[in-house]
């Protein structure tokens, strides 16, 4: 049994998000709104050795398949990630994530003076630019550490 398997066991049905940048696993779960409260099985491997990334995180969620919009959102904080849909222990779909054109309601604008941070009835909206995201309202650009601006509702 390899080191990898010791940390993260196989699942029967669900989704495996592999090649997540080290340290981002909890953000991935936050984005997907997964906190175990629905009774789903969740396992996380952090800082797992990886040929491609040196160290990577792996997230496994049982009995849950990601929707296309969830995949798009994931691509912003985990552009290197690959997504495996598992059915009856078999990988039925394996895809790299594609970056979306816009992201709505998931990130909060870092500009404190932005209208999206006032008490207005709108969701935040970001356009995806070459190396970051850009607020559709104030134009502010977030390049590094997009995950730090995750607007996670607890």
């Amino acid at each position: 049994m390899s080191d990898h398997e010791l940390r993260v066991s196989k699942i029967r049905n669900g989704t495996v998000i592999d090649h997540v940048a080290a340290g981002q696993a909890l953000n991935v779960l936050a984005i997907l709104g997964i906190d175990g409260s629905e009774g789903e099985g969740v396992s996380i491997g952090m800082n797992v050795p990886s040929d491609r990334l040196g160290r990577k995180d792996v997230v496994k969620v049982e009995d849950r398949e990601l929707s296309q919009s969830e995949v798009e959102v994931l691509s912003l904080i985990a552009p290197e990630a690959s997504i495996n849909i598992i059915r009856d222990y078999d990988v039925v779909e394996k895809s790299r994530v594609d970056r979306p054109d816009t992201v709505t309601g998931l990130l909060s604008c870092p500009n404190r003076n932005c209208i999206t941070n006032d008490n207005e009835p709108i969701a935040s909206k970001f356009g995806v630019v070459a190396d970051g995201v850009r607020c559709a309202y104030c134009g502010d650009i977030v390049r590094d550490d997009i995950a730090a601006h995750l607007d996670v509702q607890s």
Partner: protein, 307 residues
């Protein structure tokens, strides 16, 4: 203009800018012809921040087109004070007016507000964001003397928070203009404006010192450096002093330089400059009326056509 609202100068094309400026020139040449053009139309003035000249200029423009205005009044006296959202305010005001002019302290306010209304909405300043109608009158003023191509334009002062600066910089990318930005290090252009200028392929240079670039400028656009941008009073005085214009500064300038300013100025341009050929800022302010008449005419005519 082929757009419903005027939110940011970044969405203005060369054609749409020229259409408004040409119309403004026609209005300037024969204002009487426009006197009844929008008789019966109502413009709502929603200023969530104090303003005298922009508000008066829109007020005058609408009345000279034969229309009338309704004024929200100050924030202190309105329902905003009671916690009403901007989205609610504009949805209510939309029922009273054929167009809305909005100034608000938050960046992106006009963009958001425009998503809640069907009448044309003009951004008259959103925090440190944009002020595109000011830009149209700035361009009109520049064009009158020097045209809008093959120019060197220097923009000086508070480039970080200056919304008139951001709008002007965006709009100038439509023309063959070399843009020079002159400011203290701490008040350089914000990252998003820089990004857009870079994307547009504009010829842009940044300076901390006016002397190096002044002799080649056709236009020097001066903006105020505000006291509250600096934690320290002495530092403010030292820095603001370096970006002040007087007759002596202008010795190095070309004879046909236009010195412009969105006003109000405090002391960044010495009064002695007012009487020189360089001074264009009062003329610039006066141009606000025909240019805003042209803009309102464009937006109202289009909205009527679509109804």
């Amino acid at each position: 203009m082929r757009q419903d609202h005027l939110i940011s100068a970044a969405n203005l094309s060369r054609e749409s800018i020229e259409a408004v400026l040409d119309r403004a020139a026609a209005i300037d040449a024969d204002p009487a012809a426009y006197r009844q053009r929008h008789a019966g139309a109502v413009l709502a003035l929603c200023f969530f921040e104090p303003s005298t000249r922009t508000k008066m200029s829109f007020d005058t423009a609408m009345k000279r087109l034969g229309g009338t205005t309704v004024d929200m009044g100050t924030v202190e006296s309105s329902s905003v004070k009671k916690g009403e959202t901007l989205a609610d305010t504009v949805r209510v005001v939309e029922g009273y007016a054929d167009a809305i002019v909005l100034r608000h302290p938050s960046e992106g306010a006009a963009k958001m507000a425009s998503e809640f209304v069907d009448v044309p909405l003009v951004n008259a300043g959103d925090g440190a964001g944009q002020h595109p109608s000011q830009t149209l009158l700035d361009l009109y003023t520049i064009r009158e003397r020097a045209g809008l191509d093959d120019l060197s334009v220097g923009i000086m002062g508070d480039l970080k928070y200056g919304r008139t600066v951001h709008s002007l910089a965006h709009a100038l990318t439509n023309f063959d203009v070399r843009q020079h930005f002159i400011s203290p290090e701490s008040l350089r252009l914000p990252r998003n404006v820089r990004f857009d200028l870079h994307e547009s392929g504009a010829q842009v240079r940044e300076h901390t010192d006016l002397d190096a670039v002044l002799p080649e400028l056709d236009v020097l656009y001066v903006t105020r450096i505000q006291r509250e941008r600096f934690p320290d009073e002495n530092e403010y005085h030292a820095i603001a002093g370096e970006y002040r214009i007087d007759e002596e500064t202008l010795d190095a300038a070309r004879d046909d330089l236009s010195v412009m300013h969105p006003l109000p100025r405090v002391d960044e341009i010495a009064p002695e400059v007012d009487d020189t050929e360089y001074a264009r800022y009062f003329e610039q302010a006066h141009n606000g009326v025909p240019v805003r008449m042209a803009l309102l005419d464009e937006l109202l005519t289009q909205a009527e056509a679509e109804r």
